[in-house]
Point group: C2
Chain length 344, copies 2
DNA sequence: GTGAAAGCGCTAACAC
DNA sequence: GTGTTAGCGCTTTCAC
């Protein structure tokens, strides 16, 4: 026995009920000025009474716009990404857009599938933060053939020619290292991420330049590259602390790796920040609550989301070619000083 | 000057190119056995060459199914919810479904709007965890008139008659309090949440029953109700510790409130767990990394997501009325013992 | 102020 | 093995 598929109410049903045509109903529902108030009221009354709900799919097919924005992030459970999403939603919802969120789990294949899913859903825009595992950008470059705006944020590749929104990773890193210098650290190491991602390249560049600026020697042994997960943080720290001249500070390019570093140091009874000072990156929720609290770089995540969404709105509303120079927006980052680096 | 809106390729374009009809192209793309291999190959070659992409909107309009699942959660930045989402995605994607995620930010109005947005997008199912601020369920009850499955998880109201997936909050709380008793705690207080949410009612019931089972007195002063945010945890703990006979253990119905409690106790130099033992609820990411690490209840979040998605798949595939008894699935919870409660 | 008709892109029943 | 045709629900141009 099959459950009866009670059909949903359509404008045609309302039209029949009132002995008018579907076009009249459509116009009435959209407050077209050419429709009399009497008709409008009648239509709206029935619509309300019957729980009529416009079929967004049909409108979308007709208008070519779904009023849906697709967002692909590596994961939603990082404070940074969920705040960006919240910022996007805030602005997008105000303009009548929905947001469709996909998680790539930092996986290249999943990212490709997410893109396909969003294209199939005919989203009006794709907002993307690239997966760690993505080294081939063909699937992203191919998006140029789609006739929709593509915006990259945080983990971007500027050379692809898409608009981007990032924070000033270079300056964030510079400020972090500068702060460590000011705390009296002399041997500052860094945990860095895979080199094909802009954010890690920039953070590394900021690290190097700060060392140079403050006339501290650059030591290749002090640069450990990894995936920057908690375990990577532990392993890398172990490696650093086994050097003949171990560092007295570590600038970690992610909060998770800093957390791993902190764990390893504590397990080995190395005092933070007295023996080794620590700085992370991203201002994740937990950084304020670990012990010692972790100094880190705030990325204005929610604001970044708002700006990304605004950028999309501009791109769709202003199809001026004059405005078509690709925008690369950089937000400034902020050093949050906490106990893990405060020696004075 | 307007950017030329280069139209996307449709099956009609491919049809023209090959001098066949759109139906043939449609069949070829869908591997209909009645189409010759030669035609299929030709069609697929052109489709690939032209970057043809099926218009999901048009298919959806035709078939009445969008292959999209709508999920509304209070927030994505809690480990619990993002893991549930990951579980849902995992199962749903395998069956060709996309997932559209909305955050209600625990706000009643936002929840209503999210529901409307999903209905407009014609999702095939709505999966919902109720916002804290929601006390009127009319907008959810109204969903019965929609002809789609509605599944509630975690924060549910069983009386609404929708299928639900929850963890065993009662037993989780019972085990938490039992553990505190076994650690020698005699005066066990609890931080509880607003009463209209099942999860907090159940956790409170588990607390009371455990006290009774272990012949400990129930003291109303030891039950503090709040929104269970970090600040609430602080305030409530202050209140508890100001009692003539302050508690020697606090079972917190959320990890965030436990974090607040921990902060207040540390600020006031009260030793955890020696003077006051602490247990949280949810096994959020940070609980393993605060100091002392927080004992908590794991909610099998990813598994919960998988089960929710499987439940949806069953509901859509099996429209048997015989199967139509509302399912209320309960998963078992797990006590994770850490330093914050380990006295022995 | 309202109706008629066409069409968005795709699918599927029915023909041959 | 392929074509014809109709229609999913809505919007919109053109009529009157």
């Amino acid at each position: 026995m099959i459950i009866e598929t009670s059909k949903k109410y359509t404008i045609n049903d309302i039209a029949k009920e009132l002995n008018v045509t579907a076009s009249t109903v459509s116009r009435a529902l959209n407050d077209n000025p050419r429709i009399s108030n009497k008709t409008k009221e009648a239509v709206k009354r029935i619509a309300a009474a019957t729980n009529y709900q416009v079929n967004g799919i049909a409108s979308a097919l007709q208008s070519g716009r779904t009023y849906t924005i697709g967002v692909i992030v590596p994961t939603t459970d990082r404070s940074f990404f969920s705040s960006v999403i919240r910022g996007i939603e805030e602005v997008a919802n105000k303009s009548g857009y929905n947001v469709m969120i996909c998680q790539s789990n930092d996986n290249y294949e999943a990212e490709k599938e997410d893109i396909n899913a969003l294209l199939k859903a005919r989203v009006d825009c794709i907002i993307l933060s690239v997966a760690k595992q993505t080294i081939d950008y063909k699937h992203i470059i191919d998006l140029k053939k789609q006739n929709i705006p593509i915006i990259l944020f945080d983990r971007v590749n500027e050379r692809l020619g898409f608009p981007t929104v990032t924070i000033d990773d270079y300056n964030g890193a510079f400020k972090a290292v500068e702060h460590l210098v000011q705390q009296g650290c002399k041997r500052i190491a860094t945990l860095t991420g895979i080199k094909h991602l802009n954010i890690f390249r920039e953070r590394l560049r900021g690290y190097k330049d700060a060392l140079e600026y403050y006339k501290l020697p650059y030591n290749e042994d002090y640069v450990v590259c990894s995936d920057l997960r908690i375990d990577d943080g532990k392993t890398s720290t172990k490696q650093l602390m086994s050097l003949p001249h171990p560092p007295d500070a570590i600038f970690c390019a992610s909060d998770n790796s800093a957390l791993g570093a902190m764990q390893w140091l504590k397990e080995n009874n190395i005092k933070i920040p007295q023996e080794v000072a620590l700085v992370g990156f991203a201002n994740e929720f937990f950084t304020a609550y670990v012990e010692p609290a972790l100094t880190t770089i705030d990325q204005c995540s929610q604001e970044m989301g708002q700006i990304v969404a605004q950028l999309f709105l501009e791109l769709t509303n202003n199809k001026d070619l004059t405005n078509n120079t690709t925008k690369n927006i950089t937000l400034s980052s902020k050093l949050i000083v906490r106990a893990s680096s405060l020696r004075k």
